[in-house]
């Protein structure tokens, strides 16, 4: 996201607009919190720095402590920088039965960082993840919003090499 869109003390204008569009569909403003955090996280490059959390709290008139409580509960909200490509390798049972741990190992070896660290060029970060609901494609991983299934270690590395 560009610096200009991240202006000082609030949500970027498009984010505000996206949240406002949702208001009529919920009987309380509190119910907008998860959608608002998803929107904010997209605008802040995939994670929620403190300023994003305060901005959402202010926008919805909620206590910051409450918003922190929600952010820390959910696995898809991040409080630390992530790579441009966020990689989630499934290691739940169906994927493990089909070699998911070897995929995780191959991803770690290729990226040369540990889980939750970002590669020096800022491109990638990875984590192991619980079942992503695509066990028919096991072993699988998710990069950004996309699913990649029927992996082998070699195929996984090829996919990583093909990322911009």
């Amino acid at each position: 996201m560009s610096e200009s869109a991240r202006h000082g003390d609030g949500l970027p204008r498009e984010a505000k607009r996206a949240i406002d569009e949702l208001r009529p569909h919920y009987p309380t403003t509190e119910a907008l919190l998860l959608p608002a955090l998803h929107i904010a996280q997209r605008h802040w490059g995939g994670w929620l720095p403190d300023e994003a959390i305060s901005a959402v709290a202010r926008e919805l008139d909620l206590a910051e402590s409450k918003v922190y409580g929600v952010v820390t509960f959910y696995d898809l909200f991040h409080q630390h920088p992530v790579g441009r490509h966020r990689i989630r390798v499934c290691t739940n049972l169906s994927c493990t039965l089909r070699g998911g741990e070897e995929i995780l190992h191959a991803v770690r070896r290729h990226l040369k960082v540990d889980e939750n660290e970002v590669t020096a060029d800022g491109r990638c970060s990875f984590v192991h993840f619980e079942c992503l609901g695509a066990c028919e494609q096991a072993p699988m991983m998710m990069i950004g919003d996309r699913y990649h299934g029927d992996l082998t270690p070699r195929r996984a590395v090829e996919i990583l090499e093909g990322l911009d």
Binding site: H25, P27, T28, E30, A31, L32, L33, L34, P35, L37, H38, L62, G69, V70, F73, Y74, D75, L76, F77, R88, T91, N92, L93, S94, T96, L97, R98, G99, E101, E102, A106, E130, C131, L132, G133, A134, C135, E136, Q137, A138, M142, D145, R146, Y147, T152, P153, R154, R155, V157
Partner: protein, 432 residues
């Protein structure tokens, strides 16, 4: 086994993603029919069909709908459970991806029947593409007057929204889901009051799984008698989408009348992976007790699997062959439950963590026989002692391991290591 699919009948026909294509395939006829019926008649038809919830607990759908107070002008809600986080389950994703209007139609009929004017589809946050598919279909339905102020000119108003979760298994539990929908941590509520009386935003609320709702247009369209003609008996009726994964040649969704056997499913899925022998299977997702190869001929319906000490759950069938270490498999599931426990209730928070730690010790060969008894005791203390069923979900596989497969656990203790060391599943050329 030949069976003309019902819920998946439109697979391979992407035209049904649009209202026009779905209508050509007979879609939205059931909604028109329903809108000409009395709401009570619809509830009666769903009751008569015997449809039971496909989300895990198998609760009769028509009965659940009948709990919604009638005649009050208060807002009512339908929350469709598309959280689909039970490990091994992927049918709801495929139902949405292949035929989004089938779900919209089912939701609309349900809302009309119970008098709800708002429907939220709570979809797990990872399902970004399916959420978009559904949102596009909803927008198209609005344009065609199938949703909105005046559904098909009937005067019935319905607003439908897709609401994204953010990665928490517990939000699949119905009251955790309501908390999450309302903008809070997904910690389950104390019941009673039940959601039918005090649900979303303190209003009467029906919560149903995606597949449950997808059945509804077919019940209205073809009748309860037809629905009841499918399945094992009158308590186990209708079509069922089974998710089969693990050690079979062609993992995927397979739709049959409820009550096929594992043997049938393995055959449908192209046989066992690389022709190996079956060792054990999970019939209904990570929360279900593990069954052995000797139980592969059981009808996979609610009651037969419950009698065998397991459950149909979400019909996520995980097949494990002779190379699988069941201690390791159970450890993997216990780890999941320990990670996903919301932490509210002590028996669940502590029990899931201790289950994981003790299983890890046993798998490494550092465990003792008394650990096995300890696991057994922990599962007893976790059963029915927490606010929601997550603790019981962890008990499912853990208890079945120590009761049905104790000799394999003992081998770990006696040999001081895992008797089935890990081996790569990949051909050498696929590795690097």
């Amino acid at each position: 086994m030949a069976f003309e699919p019902i819920l998946l009948r439109n697979a391979g026909n992407p035209a049904v993603h649009e209202v026009s294509g779905y209508r050509k395939a007979g879609g939205y006829e059931a909604l028109s029919k329903a809108l000409a019926m009395e709401p009570e008649e619809i509830i009666d038809a769903v009751k008569a069909s015997g449809l039971r919830g496909r989300g895990g607990a198998g609760f009769p759908a028509g009965l659940k709908w009948s709990f919604i107070p009638k005649g009050s002008e208060k807002a009512k809600y339908l929350v469709c459970n598309a959280d689909e986080s039970e490990p091994g389950t992927f049918k709801d994703r495929i139902l949405i991806e292949t035929d989004p209007h089938q779900l919209i139609e089912g939701c609309a009929i349900c809302c009309y029947a119970v008098g709800a004017s708002t429907c939220y589809v709570y979809i797990r946050g990872e399902y970004v593409a399916p959420a978009l598919t559904l949102e596009r279909a909803i927008a198209d339905a609005y344009e065609h007057g199938l949703l909105g102020e005046d559904v098909l000119g009937s005067g019935f108003a319905l607003d439908m929204r897709v609401h994204r979760g953010a990665g928490a298994y517990i939000c699949g539990e119905e009251t955790g889901m309501l908390e999450s929908l309302e903008g809070r941590r997904g910690q389950p509520r104390i019941k009673p009051p039940f959601p039918a009386i005090v649900g979303a935003f303190a209003a009467p609320t029906v919560i149903n799984n995606v597949e449950t709702l997808c059945n509804v247009p077919h019940i209205i369209g073809r009748g309860a008698e037809w629905f009841k003609s499918l399945g094992t008996d009158e308590r186990n009726t209708g079509p069922k989408v089974y998710c089969i994964s693990g050690h079979v040649e062609r993992p995927g969704v397979y739709e049959y009348p409820i009550g096929v056997t594992l043997d049938d499913l393995i055959a449908a899925a192209g046989g066992m992976y690389r022709g190996r022998a079956l060792k054990a299977y999970i019939p209904g997702g990570a929360s279900a007790a593990i069954l052995s190869d000797e139980q592969s001929g059981l009808p996979m319906d609610f009651d037969s699997l419950a009698q065998a000490g397991s459950m149909l759950g979400s019909a996520a069938v995980v097949v494990m062959d002779e190379t699988t270490c069941l201690v390791r498999a159970t450890l993997r599931l216990a780890k999941f439950f320990a990670h996903e426990s919301c932490g509210q209730c002590t028996p669940c928070r502590e029990g899931t963590n201790w289950s994981e730690m003790i299983l890890a010790r046993l798998e490494d060969g550092r465990g003792s026989e008394s650990d096995i008894d300890l696991l057994q005791r922990i599962t007893t203390n976790m059963s029915g002692t927490a606010l929601c069923a997550l603790a019981d979900a962890c008990v499912g596989p853990v208890r079945s391991l120590v009761t049905n497969f104790r000799p394999e656990v003992m081998q770990h203790v006696e040999q001081g290591c895992c008797p089935l060391p890990r081996q790569s599943i990949f051909e050498p050329g696929a590795v690097s």
